[in-house]
């Protein structure tokens, strides 16, 4: 069923009796060409692009819980392509371009809103670094505008420009960045994949891999064994646990990132704003809630909740940059478990095991990457080679001395 204004009108006039479930609930078959482990944003995007771009439709997406129950529903919905390094920036710009055409492409309202992302600079050195970053962005085909104080003041007059410790000196603005309705991304990709013949199987936990002679022939699941020519794992947050079933150790630790939503307010925050002297980022949802977050908690965890010291730190960051939010009351807070990799960058690669593929290590930046991650993973599965923009995301890059370390923090996952 194709959604359109005409369809809504016709259904409205006929009692809304014609709407169908957005995807089927099929029983797993005994064999598929590709089994994707993990029905989150990246897994569903992979299935969608496999079917749409590469014509591979004999595909199953296996999800342990319900569809989109992981980080696709727990993030702060920001999209941007403002990275610095060559291994990263073209990939994230591909992602932003895919976001821009996504709703028309999969015929689903994901509320893609390009309201701009503003990174604040608080020193001369930081402004220089942003000038360099902006140039790297423009070289990759992205947009970037270096703003002086007056330029920032025009966009966001409510900021604490004269803060004694962190006066605002300027900022780097990406007008094409913005926010997206995160759950709708999962639903849109699921619907697009399902309508092309992909089986989305929920409540189906992978408990092991079927191995023979060093090759992966399929998966063992809570609903029986399923054979597959290719098994594509896509379970960021739980990557170590799942790949551990195949005997692999990964350059990844699992950490929690907390996020917060305030009570609904009238529109006050024009786009996404990040504090440059601490770690705080904020946007405002269409319902009016201030959506914000900051650093990860810093210790290994699989609990989807964090601790109070980080809550305090995030709120201090907010107060330092926009004191006006001090009276807003917090409505909800939660945590998401993420793969923190050794250089802060992800992996989209084949493994040493024939037939087994891995996508993970997205740190706290997986949401914005969703379409490009799915596209490049599908490209790898269908063609056997990496997509040009994801060629650096290899599992052996540490062995080769080729990490992609945006922050320059070294092999210390809790500092990325």
């Amino acid at each position: 069923m194709r959604y359109s204004a005409l369809k809504i009108l016709a259904e409205g006039l006929t009692g809304n009796r014609g709407w169908k479930p957005v995807w089927r609930t099929p029983e797993p078959k005994a064999e598929y060409d590709v089994v994707i482990v993990g029905g989150g944003g990246h897994g569903l995007a992979t299935a969608y692009y496999l079917a749409k771009e590469f014509g591979i439709t004999n595909v199953a997406v296996l999800e342990k819980g319900w569809l989109g129950s992981g980080n696709i529903g727990r993030n702060t919905t920001i999209i941007r392509s403002n990275y610095l390094l060559e291994g990263n920036q073209p990939f994230y710009e591909l992602s932003l371009k895919l976001w821009e055409g996504l709703e028309q492409d999969f015929n689903y309202n994901a509320m893609v809103s390009q309201r701009g992302v503003l990174n604040l600079a608080h020193s001369d050195a930081q402004r220089d670094a942003y000038a360099r970053r902006g140039n790297a962005m423009i070289l990759s085909g992205a947009d970037a505008v270096l703003l002086d104080r007056a330029g920032v003041r025009k966009l966001a007059p409510f900021l604490d420009f004269e803060n004694g410790r962190f006066p605002i000196q300027g900022g780097l603005w990406q007008p094409r960045g913005g926010t997206v309705r995160h759950d709708a991304v999962a639903w849109g990709f699921a619907r697009g994949a399902d309508s092309r013949g992909v089986d989305i199987i929920q409540n189906c936990e992978v408990t092991g891999f079927t191995m023979q002679g060093g090759a992966c022939l399929g998966v063992e699941t809570s609903r029986g064994a399923i054979r597959a020519k290719q098994v594509a794992v896509c379970v960021a947050g739980s990557s170590s646990r799942v790949m551990g079933l195949a005997g692999m150790r990964l350059p990844i630790e699992s950490h929690v990132l907390q996020a917060f939503v305030s009570e609904g307010l009238k529109p006050v925050i024009p786009g996404v704003i990040t504090f440059g002297a601490g770690h705080f980022y904020i946007s405002q949802s269409d319902k009016g809630g201030l959506v914000f977050g900051g650093d990860i908690d810093g210790y290994n965890t699989y609990a989807q909740r964090g601790n109070l010291p980080v809550v305090e730190d995030v709120c201090e960051g907010g107060m330092a940059v926009m004191p006006m939010i001090g009276r807003a009351r917090l409505l909800r807070m939660w945590g998401g478990v993420m793969d923190m990799s050794m250089d802060g960058s992800p992996f989209i690669d084949r493994t040493g095991i024939e037939g087994l593929y891995f996508n993970g290590g997205w740190c706290y930046g997986g949401f914005k990457a969703t379409p490009a991650s799915g596209f490049c993973y599908a490209h790898l599965l269908a063609t056997g080679g990496p997509h040009d923009t994801a060629a650096a995301y290899r599992l052996d890059r540490f062995r080769r001395g080729a990490p992609i370390d945006e922050k320059g923090a070294g092999a210390q996952p809790n500092l990325h």
Binding site: L250, E253, T301, A411
Partner: protein, 95 residues
């Protein structure tokens, strides 16, 4: 989280910084055969278990001691705290 420091008693985890897996105590011998591969695994690969995890915490806002904290990564419950010095000695890593 409250970490029961062996010398100072219960302290707020906010006083500490965390380094990670206590397996990092076992630095490979750089002169041994296959040291390059051993160092790759030591520096970059992690067990990352869901459940009990032994990890190194540094009491930066306190007595600057290194601790080995055994903590459940599913519940955040801390079951054992020892001075890293004692652990390293017991495991044959320190003089």
């Amino acid at each position: 989280m409250i970490i029961d420091h062996p010398l100072l008693g219960p302290r707020d985890a906010a006083e500490f910084t965390v380094l990670g897996d206590a397996a990092l105590i076992h630095r490979p011998d750089g002169m041994a055969e296959g040291a390059e591969a051993a160092f790759h695994d030591y520096v970059y690969l992690r067990d990352n278990p869901a459940g009990l995890h032994r990890e190194l915490w540094y009491h930066e806002q306190g007595d600057r001691s290194w601790l080995v904290v055994t903590r459940n990564t599913l519940t955040h419950e801390i079951t054992e705290v020892a001075l890293a010095r004692d652990v390293a000695r017991a495991e044959g890593r320190s003089r």
